[in-house]
Amino acid sequence: MGRAERLRRAGAGLTSGAAFRGALYGIAAFCAVLLLSGVAVLMAARHAVMADIQAGLAAQLAIVQEMAAANDPVAFEATVTDLARRFAAANMVVAVYQQGRVVAANAALPATPATWRLVDDVTTIRGETLERVLVLSGRAGGYTVVLGRDLAGVRRVSHAIAGVLAGVGAVMVATLIAIGWGLSARSERALGRIEAALDLVSRGEFGARAPVAAAPDQIDRVAAKINIHLDRLEVLMAEAANRAAAIAHDLRTPLARAMLSAERLLAATDGGAEETEAAALVEELDRLARIFDAILRIARIEGAQDARPAEPVDLGSILAEVADLYGAAAEAAGQRLSAEGQAVVAGDAVLLTQAAANLAANAVAHAGPGARIRLRAGAPGPEAGAVLVCEDDGRGVPAAQRGRVLDPFVRLDLAAEGTGLGLTFVRAVAERHGARLELADADPGLRVTMVFPARLTDL
C-alpha cells in the first residue's frame, strides 16, 4: 500500500466517522440560519436607513416650503441657489423649478408631481453620476422642489453587513469542520486501537487488549466490554489447552500399558487365530495412538496462547526437504514430485515442515498414478504475502467437498490410509501463522495454497 493510498484510506476513515458527519450536519444547519438571519438583518438595516433618509428629506422639504412661504421670490431663489451649492458638497441633490424654468439645481433631476420615487443615473453639477437616488418632490409656493439623497451609503452599509456575516460564517464553518475532523480522528484512533487488539487476538495473541482511557467515553465503554469478553475467551482457551495437555498425559500412560500388554500377548501366542487377533489388537492400538497424537498436535496449535512464531523460515528449503522425503514414495506410486521457488516467512519451521509434509502425503495418496505434484514457494509481489503451494493434476476434489476436507475426520477416499486429520492440521498451522488456506481447482487436480500475510496489518 502506497503512502497516497494510506492517506486516502485514513481520510476516508475520518470523513466516514459519525463525529465528522455530525459536524457536516451542523455546518448545513448553521449556514441556513446564518443566511436567513443575514437577510433579515440586511432588510431591517436597509429599512431603518431608508426611513431615516425619508424623514430627513421630508424635513428638508418642509423647511424649503416654509422658506417659500416666508420670503419674497428674489430672496427665496437666492437662498435655494445657495442651498443647492451647499447640498452638492454634502452629496445631496436638489432642483427647484418654476413652470419649466430651473430656479436652482445641483443635479439633473426630473420635475415630478409630489411623490417619492427612485431615480437612476443622476448627473450632478460636479460631474458625478449617482447610481440610484431617492427623490422627494413637493410644491413650495409657485415652485416645484425636488430633493434627492444618494443611496450609495445604504448599499455600502448593506455590503458591510453582508461582508461581516460572510466572514463570521466562514470562520464558523472552518471551526466546525476542524472540530468534526478532530473528534472523528479521535474516535478513529480509539476504534483503530480496538481493531488492532482484535487483530492480535485473531492471530493468537490472546493477551492483547484494547486500551481504555481514564475518563471513558462511549467508545471506551465498548472497548471495556470487548476486553471483558476477551478475558473470558482467554480463560476458556487456556482451560481448553490445559485440559488437552492433562488428557494427553492421563491417556498416554494407560495407552502405553495397553500397547506393551498387547505386544506381550502377541509375543506369547504361537500362530493361529490368537496371534491374528493379538496382531490386530496391536494394530488398532497403534492407530488409536496415531489419531490421538494427531488430535493433540492440532489442539496444541489451536490452543497456543503465546505470540505468533516469528523465526525466519525459508519455505523453499522446507519444500525441497519434503520433496526429498516423499519423492521416492511418489515415484513408487507412478507420480512425479518436485519442489521449486523461494520465500522467507516469519514462522515455525517444524510446524511448517509438517504441514508441507501433510500436503505432499495427501497429494501422493490421492492424486492417483501418473500425477505430477508440484510444491512451490514464492512471493507474488511486494504488496502480496508469500505463498506455499501444493498442486497436482490428479483427480482433484469436487468443489462442493473442498470446504469439508479441512474439517477433522473427513475422509473422501475411505479406501486410503489416513486419520482424516492431515488437512485439519495444515489449516491449524496456517491459522497459527496468520495465513489463509485456499483450496482450488487446478484444472485438473487440486491446488492447496497457504497465503501468508504481507504485513501484520494486512490481516
Binding site: A248, T253, L255, A256, L260, R264, Y326, A328, A329, A361
Partner: protein
C-alpha cells in the same frame, strides 16, 4: 547390557524390564528420581531409561544432575508429554534419545540397543563393513564385491545409519528422526520407498540381500547366516 530403568508406573516398568531381560539385558528397576540419581552414579549402567515425570526428582533434572556429576552414560527419556519443544528441552538437558508414550516395545529395544552400541568404539571408524559391503566414511564411497555403488547424499546417510547398527534393528521412526530430522508420522510409506531404492542399488545386483525388513517397523543389516 546393564540397563537402569527409572519408571514410576509399575505396569509399564514391569513390561519393559521383563522385555529387556528377555533380550538378555541386565535390568535394574527404580521408581524414584532421587534414589535413581544415586544408583546411576554408583552402578554406572550402560544405558539409563528415565521417565520424565518421577516422584522425588523429575526425569530432566535427573539427567542434568547426572551430566553435572560427569556421568556420561547414554540416557533415553520416556515421556507422556511429547511436544516438540519439550523434546528439544530433553536434548538440551543432556538426554541422548527421547521416546514418547505410548511406544512399541521393539522401538524402545532398538533405541536402547543403539544407545548402548554408541557408547563403545573409542577410536573413530574410517569404514563400515557388512559382509562384502564396505562404506568408506572418509570418501563416502560404497563398494560391494569390488563394485562401486553410486549413492545420493540421503542414501548414503541411510546406509551409514543402518551399517553402524549392523546386526541390530533400526526402526522407521529412528530413520525418520536421524536421516530426515522428522518427528511426526509422515503419512505414507516414505521410509519403505527410500529403503527399497537403496536395496535396488545395494542388494539387487548381488546374490544375497544385506538389508532385511523386521516385521512391520524397521530394518536390520546383516550378511548371510
Amino acid at each position: 547390557m546393564k540397563i537402569l530403568l527409572v519408571e514410576d508406573d509399575d505396569r509399564i516398568a514391569t513390561f519393559v524390564a521383563e522385555g529387556l531381560a528377555r533380550e538378555g539385558h541386565a535390568v535394574e528397576q527404580l521408581g524414584d528420581g532421587r534414589a535413581a540419581l544415586a544408583r546411576c552414579l554408583e552402578a554406572e549402567p550402560d544405558v539409563a531409561v528415565v521417565d520424565r515425570m518421577l516422584p522425588g526428582l523429575d526425569g530432566l533434572s535427573l539427567v542434568r544432575a547426572l551430566r553435572a556429576a560427569g556421568a556420561a552414560m547414554p540416557v533415553l527419556v520416556l515421556t507422556a508429554l511429547d511436544q516438540v519443544d519439550q523434546r528439544v528441552e530433553g536434548f538440551r538437558a543432556g538426554a541422548d534419545d527421547y521416546l514418547g508414550k505410548p511406544f512399541h516395545f521393539a522401538e524402545l529395544l532398538a533405541r536402547v540397543e543403539a544407545l548402548g552400541r554408541r557408547k563403545g568404539g573409542a577410536a573413530p571408524e574410517t569404514a563400515l563393513n557388512v559382509h562384502d559391503l564396505t562404506l568408506d566414511l572418509v570418501t563416502h564411497r560404497a563398494t560391494r564385491a569390488g563394485q562401486d555403488i553410486p549413492l545420493h547424499a540421503r542414501e548414503y546417510r541411510l546406509l551409514e545409519l543402518m551399517m553402524r547398527q549392523a546386526g541390530r534393528v533400526v526402526t522407521r521412526s529412528m530413520l525418520l528422526d536421524r536421516v530426515w530430522n522428522i518427528n511426526f508420522e509422515p503419512g505414507t510409506t516414505v521410509v519403505e520407498t527410500h529403503v527399497s531404492r537403496l536395496r535396488a542399488k545395494v542388494d539387487k545386483p548381488f546374490d544375497c540381500a544385506l538389508i532385511h525388513t523386521v516385521r512391520n517397523f524397521g530394518y536390520v543389516m546383516h550378511g548371510p547366516r
